[in-house]
Subunit: 342 residues, 2 copies
Amino acid sequence: MDRKVKIALIGFGSVGRALARVIALKRKIISSKYGILIDVVGVADSKGMALKAEGFDEYELLKLCELPRSGVNLFKPYAYQGVDLDVLYDNTQPEIHIELTPSEYISGEPGVSNIVYAIDRGAHVVTANKAPLVLRYREIVSRALSKGVKIKFRATVLGGTPFIETLMNMRSHDIEKVEGIVNATSNFILTEMHERLIDFNDALKRAQALGVAEANPALDIDGIDAAAKLVIISNVLEKPITIEEIYKESISGITLKDVIDAVRQGCVLKSIASFDIRGRKASIRVVRIPKSDLFAQINGIMNGVRIRSDATEVVFIGKGGGSMETAHSVLDDILSIAMEYL
Amino acid sequence: MDRKVKIALIGFGSVGRALARVIALKRKIISSKYGILIDVVGVADSKGMALKAEGFDEYELLKLCELPRSGVNLFKPYAYQGVDLDVLYDNTQPEIHIELTPSEYISGEPGVSNIVYAIDRGAHVVTANKAPLVLRYREIVSRALSKGVKIKFRATVLGGTPFIETLMNMRSHDIEKVEGIVNATSNFILTEMHERLIDFNDALKRAQALGVAEANPALDIDGIDAAAKLVIISNVLEKPITIEEIYKESISGITLKDVIDAVRQGCVLKSIASFDIRGRKASIRVVRIPKSDLFAQINGIMNGVRIRSDATEVVFIGKGGGSMETAHSVLDDILSIAMEYL
């Protein structure tokens, strides 16, 4: 009496692979617990697709994860050269489209086109790619509404936690301020500078060596990723701001002397994303936080956000990213759609 | 085009009055934001009822809050002597039953009977009263399921936050451990003992003077309230334990010397509720927490819970109670039912 749910993974980098592994591992448990059997019917990366209308079994999902990057087109006999969503949808009819392509904040592509395509085909959408929401939130959400499909995106902010769902669930509250540490890479670098008393470049190198920072770390260290998250939060709260409106301070200008000066005053430096809803002001700033403040305890790759409403204050702390954690958030969105709308 | 939603408040103490005030204050905003108009059609306390089938207006709701305790039967011309749910339901047909009677952990009454009655009449239920869930979770939930109504109870654990909803939303996670500070009164008393270096009795007196502890504080200081919350958490996770199975250490045995010894070792004493899901072990214990630990920063009436799963760790910090905060959680549950099931 399992309900089969057909999903397609568009984008097959670290989160896509982590998701395939989690599904392989937990598919049977989820089926026995919730009566939902997740069938991955299509996987696409930048160069090709692997399609199987009846769904890949656990073993095939794990084999897919062993392919080289952009190597899905090698997965015989299910391989297709090039990406063509018409072919994918016609052959496999996915009910939920999982958008896991990388974020790009100029055009938002290929995420925007992929999501719009999915909605127009009547598929529900789960996205871990922030860019389409940052650039086209209203358009995408209203398009989904008019087509009667859902779009879920809890992996986009505090990837490993259900923060977005929590915020959406506080309907009776007048949310006044949302602020916190929302970028794991820059928090890791600042934490390293404090704990090892090293300068920015050495801390960045350590972050890159550990895989916490990318080869091109600009999105993270210049506050763009954090600003993108504030844009999504602002849209969820129906007080939309654009990424250009947000003041963004890079952590690359922070010196070891700045760190030492802060420590001497009983503080630590943190890059704080802040959205003052009433004033409609949003910024990413490096600020001195007293050591006794909760935010001073949020170190390394941890993230933390404080939600202040007219009635209460809630602090949410969890891992900011990590592909396994993010994959679980994507899977939670899939299950939420499957249980509530399918 | 507002959708009217008729609710009845059963129990009219501090949370009931706070809820009436919040509804009076936010009813029109909620209507414009969500298209839902909340009509309070009945209010009952221990001695009587006030019923108005078309719903009390904002002014009447505020007037109701000015009545003395157990004085709803004075609210002419809507007053009834004594509580009779047949009369309440026949006259007003509430769609959502709000159970706000006090918790009592022997029989669970009057909460259990009230909730069962509401379910049998086809009303959805929101409860801030923990006792019925602690004593009869499965029976109540399966009865609601069979009658096609929903029961929501986010106000029962970390009253001012959407913690329960968050936990329910982590479906893909294998939750391994839930632990934290879940009783505001005992945390306040321990915090006072540390900050003022006073003994337990003086700290308790301060808590009582400030309204943080009740005249009979046993439920809070002996760990019964915290254990009740673990029972609810265990049921939400479908690994039910009973309140008797939980080891409960009272904070009343903690001396000033214990506090000083802990501080000398760089620690603070906290009453920690812990539920190890795999081992099926649950306890309320006073333990030494290193000052650098996040839990050591959760002081006064704040609560905090750490959820550990196979994939991640999330910490949730917020006010444990407070009637206004709790009223907002109840209202969020009402809105969630109204938007999803009515």
